[in-house]
């Protein structure tokens, strides 16, 4: 068994190989290879700590309900229909002071939702789906599947550019256009990604609607762009649920949205 074999089959082998001889070969290699031994140790540690982390970070549902009720009672968050038309930026101190404050918990909520979705996808889909080697580019094109032999390519010599999936960096408008397309192509997954934040998006848009037209348009465009990023990444994660890097990108896309909320909060205050 080689190091490459161990890397590719490690998750399955850690849970116990179906074949005793295979397990023996794995154990033998790990004993003799310090790199693979370190890798196995790291993975075991991460797995055990991740279990503890999940248990520690998931409060019961009633906690969230109580927090939401308390925030509503204190006027820190509002129902969407009550916000339109409210003169958030008029000089009345109470309105100007409190209207945008829901953005702070919402920004945290976006991050929490992102973290939940990422971890939820990991725990449920890894078991259900086989990893897809080829990433799916935006829109309709799909990259060719990666040859397993490419996985061990070395970096010892300069790498010439290899034709791969379209490398274009989409503009904001392209992303917005692609958003509706990806929604339909991603099946039920994309709505799941955007559902937890759609009400917050409406509130966000209501608040920024009080800003000058140019600023308002900027915030709207940026919101659409980050939503498109989230959906694009979510679609990729759905097809490659075991891809840790993709999940990391998804988390970062949610962080971008939280950053947008936070900047809007600072702007309106």
């Amino acid at each position: 068994m080689t190091c490459s074999d161990v890397q590719q089959l490690l998750p399955e082998l850690l849970d116990g190989a179906p074949d005793a001889a295979f397990q023996t070969a794995f154990n033998s290699h790990v004993k003799s290879c310090s790199d693979c031994s370190d890798l196995v140790s790291d993975l075991k540690l991460i797995t055990s700590q991740a279990r503890d982390l999940t248990a520690a970070e998931e409060p019961p549902a009633r906690v969230w309900v109580n927090i939401a009720a308390q925030l509503r009672a204190e006027g820190l968050i509002r129902e969407p229909e009550t916000v339109p038309g409210r003169p958030v930026l008029v000089p009345a101190p109470r309105q100007r002071r409190w209207s945008p404050f829901w953005l702070a918990p919402v920004a945290a909520g976006v991050l929490a939702a992102g973290a939940y979705l990422v971890s939820h996808k990991t725990t449920t889909q890894v078991a259900e789906q086989r990893p897809v080697a080829s990433p799916v580019s935006k829109g309709t094109s799909q990259a060719p599947e990666t040859n397993p032999t490419d996985q061990v390519a070395t970096a010892s010599s300069p790498v010439a550019e290899v034709p791969v999936a379209p490398p274009t960096s989409p503009t904001t408008s392209q992303k917005i256009a692609a958003k509706s397309s990806s929604e339909s192509k991603a099946g039920g997954a994309a709505p799941e990604a955007s559902a937890p934040s759609s009400a917050e998006d409406q509130q966000f848009l209501s608040v920024v609607s009080t800003l000058p037209a140019s600023s308002r348009a900027t915030y709207q465009n940026e919101l659409q762009a980050v939503n498109a990023d989230i959906q694009e990444t979510q679609a990729y994660v759905n097809q490659n649920p075991s891809d840790a890097d993709a999940r990391q990108h998804l988390m970062e896309a949610y962080q971008q949205k939280a950053l947008l909320y936070q900047i809007a909060l600072d702007r309106i205050q």
């Binding site: 061990v152 390519a153 970096a155 960096s169 762009a225 962080q255 971008q256 950053l259």
Partner: protein, 292 residues
């Protein structure tokens, strides 16, 4: 007859131009007259904490006296006021808009000099924000504001914008964290134990040697990442673009990797003694590592 008409036409045009010029001059004069300058001085000790917050306007900060903070505020109209407060070593400067203020009349430009070791917090939506020759911790925030940080060392440098571009030049031994949604980021000669940049659609450019030891993590969603390094760079490189392409144009020493390598979408390898670790990640952007 035609000549007379032409003369009349010219005369009317000249009169019109004169009127327009006078109106413009009057407007400019009124704006100039409404513009006021205010200076504030505060005596501080070591490790002062200075905050400047304005919705509209530029903030420029540089190192000055080690015992004094000097703030020169230029108010564009009387529709905006400046609040200032000192609590011990902490100075807070903030402009607040009065009724009817807008992006033009609500503008306050600040020129600030502070002790080099002071902690600094700046916020302006429109900016630009510029900072130079400081050694304390810096936090700079703005939505559209262009941010320029030059010649600072030893401190934390935290910058975040919505779409404002961020430029860092000659930042040494810094703990640098940059975040933007669509702003470009440019780093030249930026080194430190941690240099982290994250932009959604903005481009990240790095020109430097990645220091002697440190973690460098650059991430984008769709923006490109480009690093320009000298031939004697000493770093461990890892680059991966989920959908985009990666490219490097100088030899990297192959090493045992714990991560799968996808040809054309990722590369690993070290150069020199691999003193620093460099991670370049993008979802769909292009990543290039180039030799200077």
């Amino acid at each position: 007859m035609a000549g007379q008409q032409w003369a009349n036409f010219l005369e009317m045009r000249i009169q019109s131009s004169t009127v327009v010029t006078l109106v413009l001059a009057t407007c400019l004069a009124s704006v100039a007259l409404a513009e006021t300058k205010k200076e504030y001085r505060f005596t501080v000790g070591p490790n002062a904490n200075v905050s400047v917050d304005t919705l509209y306007g530029a903030i420029s900060v540089r190192a000055g006296s080690s015992t004094e903070v000097v703030v020169l505020a230029t108010l564009k109209s009387d529709s905006v006021e400046v609040d200032q407060q000192q609590n011990g070593n902490r100075i807070e400067i903030a402009s607040h808009l009065l009724q009817g203020a807008n992006e033009l009349t609500g503008q306050v430009n600040y020129e600030v000099s502070i002790p080099a070791d002071a902690t600094l917090n700046l916020h302006s939506s429109t900016g630009p924000l510029s900072v130079e020759r400081l050694t304390g911790d810096l936090t700079l925030e703005g939505s559209d504001a262009a941010v320029n940080v030059r010649n600072v060392e030893n401190g934390h440098v935290h910058v975040r914008t919505m779409r404002g571009p961020i430029t860092l030049t000659d930042v040494r031994n810094g703990h640098v964290e940059l975040a933007s949604i669509s702003g470009d980021m440019q780093m030249k000669s930026v080194t430190g134990p941690l240099v982290q940049a994250n932009s959604g659609s903005g481009k990240i450019s790095y020109d430097g040697d990645f220091g002697s030891s440190g973690d460098y993590k650059f991430t984008t969603h769709s923006g490109d990442i480009e690093a320009l390094v000298p031939a004697d760079v000493s770093a461990d490189f890892r680059a991966h673009s989920m959908v985009g392409r990666v490219q490097h144009d100088f030899p990297l020493e192959s090493k045992h990797s714990r991560f799968p390598v996808e040809l054309g979408r990722s590369f690993f390898g070290s150069a020199g003694k691999a003193a620093s670790e460099v991670v370049l990640r993008s979802f769909s952007g292009k990543i290039r590592l180039k030799q200077r």
